[in-house]
């Protein structure tokens, strides 16, 4: 046990990526050729039970390791893990800081209840659900932990490929139709990502995030323009992932078409976009970046406010509950990015607290949507009168809880997150805009969800015999309740969480310490190297070019 803990202590960051990867490979090797059933349901052979046990155990172990990561990061320690022991900036590093640890914990905390829910029947409606699910976790954890821009692209691809398959899980015409759109859009975005990263490399000569933050501050002239263009191209890519105006149109249809556990897991996918914007635009192109400071602000802030408003308008117009929750995802991303786009540590801290809460609430609401839909006969989750559900009290309370939490009513954490955001904008010139949008969106969210609740629970028709008690098993109900419990826990533990996110924002602002830690083995940021590399070599004690090297320019 002692040896295991010591092993984890040395390799903590990479183990959070390797565990889901090895689990997925094991699950693939075990095969998935039995127990397929069209209706789902808990039946299935011993092999299905084995797969579920292995999958759940791995996710739970991942959760425990993520808690360990947060405990380590909370002390302020920056852990740099060199893959293959190549020192940064020439090798690829994984960096564990407060932000990475928080996002990995959020991923695992959402994944475990979602997996539990999927074991209630969804996982046998298609092949290899568990394996692909763990590949998705590998991509998410890797994207959050990496300290290298190109490695971020690679983990994006891992999580996207897994998400393509998960999105199509269960098949059906609507899923295939939305799947084609989703895949083509994301492949185009990947091409843009590569263009942005390559342009960035050509002017800074580095892909290491810590090093890049220092290099960008020194740019001027043409190189500066190129770097800023690269930053804005990357903003398009991350904006598409995060569902920012005008790039959110794919999201509602895709999330509404995906199966419930997959949609709940996808609540994390938009946060990957938010995370990347924080890493690239808040840190590398943030304050103190010389002439490139605040490159994205003039685009990000209006887009974020507009996303928030358009998202909630979409939710009001939605005709099914799944689409409404999907639009609320868009709206919450707008609120989070508003906090990011103000570029102060206080607003970032509030935005990250709100990220935790909104991801969990949205995931819970997606699972809840399917439970209600299962009990409403042929109307499914359409917002039209239907026979009463079998368990109006239980589901109604859940709806009330989720709605109050999403809209931000006290004393739930949605309220606390929005209050922190409003407070942190107190001295900024854009304060009236932020207050108007955040408060107005909260009111409209409440209106939309109240309308949905009234139609579904009060505006009922006599039973036409199509109502079943489906979806009322304790196993299925447990997952959304866990999410609701988590939001409640976040409200109760608001003070320590806020202290953590405050420290997180401070840590992100301190770019010099970050760079000094990451580049330590290379000798610190001051050691000169030839970057961007153009064929001329500079020796440490001799600034003059040596050798007959020159660039071949006709």
């Amino acid at each position: 046990m002692q040896a295991l803990l010591a092993f984890w202590g040395t390799h903590a960051p990479v183990l959070s990526v390797l565990l889901p990867s090895l689990t997925a490979v094991t699950l693939l090797l075990l095969g998935d050729h039995d127990g397929l059933s069209a209706q789902g349901g808990p039946h299935g052979g011993a092999r299905v039970r084995w797969r579920r046990a292995l999958s759940l155990a791995s996710a739970a172990l991942g959760l425990a390791m993520a808690v360990g990561l947060v405990a380590r990061a909370a002390s302020g320690e920056l852990m740099v893990y060199e893959l293959g022991e190549w020192p940064a900036p020439f090798g690829i590093v994984l960096v564990l800081d407060r932000l990475s640890a928080q996002m990995v914990l959020l991923t695992q905390a959402v994944a475990v209840p979602v997996l539990w829910y999927a074991c209630g029947g969804w996982d046998v409606r298609g092949r290899h659900f568990h394996a692909v699910f763990h590949f998705q976790l590998m991509g998410l954890n890797g994207a959050f932990l990496t300290g290298d821009l190109f490695n971020l692209f690679v983990f994006f691809e891992v999580l996207l490929i897994a998400s393509y398959v998960l999105m199509l899980h269960g098949l059906g015409r609507e899923r295939l139709r939305m799947g084609v759109h989703y895949v083509v859009l994301n492949l185009t975005a990947s091409a843009l990502f590569l263009i942005g990263v390559a342009m960035f490399y050509s002017v800074t000569g580095t892909l290491n995030m810590a090093d890049a933050a220092l290099q960008v501050a020194r740019l001027e002239g043409d190189a500066l323009w190129l770097a800023q263009s690269a930053a804005l191209i990357l903003l398009v890519v991350f904006g598409l992932k995060a569902a920012l105006v005008p790039l959110y149109f794919w999201l509602p249809g895709t999330y509404a078409a995906a199966s419930a556990p997959v949609a709940a897991l996808f609540a994390l996918m938009t946060k990957v976009g938010v995370y990347s914007i924080v890493r690239v635009h808040w840190v590398i192109f943030g304050v103190d970046a010389g002439a490139a400071s605040l490159t994205a602000q003039s685009w990000l802030l209006p887009a974020a406010l507009l996303t928030s408003v358009l998202g909630v308008l979409g939710a009001l117009a939605a005709h099914t509950l799944a689409r409404m929750v999907a639009y609320l995802t868009v709206s919450s991303v707008g609120t989070i990015l508003t906090g990011v786009a103000l570029f102060t540590p206080a607003t970032l801290s509030a935005a990250l607290y709100y990220t935790l809460h909104s991801t969990v609430v949205i995931a819970g609401l997606f699972l809840f949507t399917e439970l209600v839909a299962a009990q409403r006969g042929t109307m499914r989750d359409r917002l039209q009168p239907a026979p009463a559900v079998r368990e109006p009290v239980l589901l109604g309370v859940m709806m009330l809880f989720g709605a109050a939490s999403a809209a931000g009513l006290p004393p739930l954490p949605g309220f606390l997150g929005k209050l922190m955001l409003l407070q942190s904008t107190a001295d900024l010139p854009v304060q009236p805009w932020v207050w108007a949008v955040v408060l107005g969106v909260g009111l409209m969210t409440l209106l939309g969800l109240a309308r949905a609740g009234v139609v579904m629970f009060w505006h009922v028709q006599p039973d036409d015999g199509s109502v079943t008690a489906a979806g009322s098993s304790a196993r299925l109900l447990a997952a959304p309740w866990i999410f609701m419990g988590l939001t409640l826990a976040m409200a109760l533990a608001a003070s320590p969480i806020k202290a953590y996110t405050d420290a997180l924002a401070q840590q992100l602002s301190d770019k010099d310490r970050y760079a000094a830690t990451v580049l330590q083995r290379q000798g610190g940021p001051e050691v000169p190297t030839t970057r961007p590399y153009d064929g001329r070599r500079v020796l440490p004690n001799d600034a003059a070019p040596t050798g007959a090297a020159q660039e071949d320019r006709p």
């Binding site: 190109f150 690679v154 691809e157 490929i161 393509y164 199509l168 098949l171 015409r173 609507e174 295939l176 139709r177 939305m178 799947g179 084609v180 759109h181 895949v183 083509v184 492949l187 185009t188 990947s190 091409a191 590569l194 263009i195 990263v197 390559a198 342009m199 490399y201 050509s202 892909l207 249809g253 078409a257 005709h319 590399y533 153009d534 064929g535 040596t546 050798g547 007959a548 090297a549 020159q550 660039e551 071949d552 320019r553 006709p554």
Partner: protein, 123 residues
């Protein structure tokens, strides 16, 4: 006319063709467009390490070497692009089979509204 100009216009042409095909209504041209875009991006990454002639790919003595990093990046990008193209081809085939149409919206443009109405307005 410099080599840089030739390479840049070449990448621009391929990108333009890729974007044009990407905006078509059938899945086959869209997949071709994605592939073309992928090729353009791969060459773009490659030239972002500057254009070289007569340079070694690895360090030999004190002679100039071509920047090795973009070469490594482009290999990764090619592998990933190959895998995703394979996936999107399979997805397009499956979608065409299920919807009996190779339109990207899963239905022939004229029949779309009727089909949506029959399915109860899903989507």
């Amino acid at each position: 006319m410099s080599v840089e100009f030739l390479v840049a216009t070449g990448i621009g042409m391929v990108t333009a063709c890729g974007v044009y095909l990407l905006l078509r209504g059938r899945t086959f041209p869209v997949v071709l467009g994605l592939s073309l875009l992928g090729y353009a991006v791969n060459v773009f990454i490659f030239v972002m390490g500057r254009l070289w002639t007569d340079a070694h790919p690895i360090l030999i003595g004190n002679e100039p070497v071509a920047d090795p990093l973009p070469q490594a990046l482009v290999l990764t990008a090619i592998v990933i692009g190959f895998a995703t193209t394979g996936f999107v081809v399979e997805l397009a085939l499956r979608s065409a089979h299920e919807a009996r149409s190779d339109h990207v919206d899963g239905a022939e443009p004229g029949r779309h509204s009727a089909a949506a109405g029959r399915d109860g307005g899903v989507g």
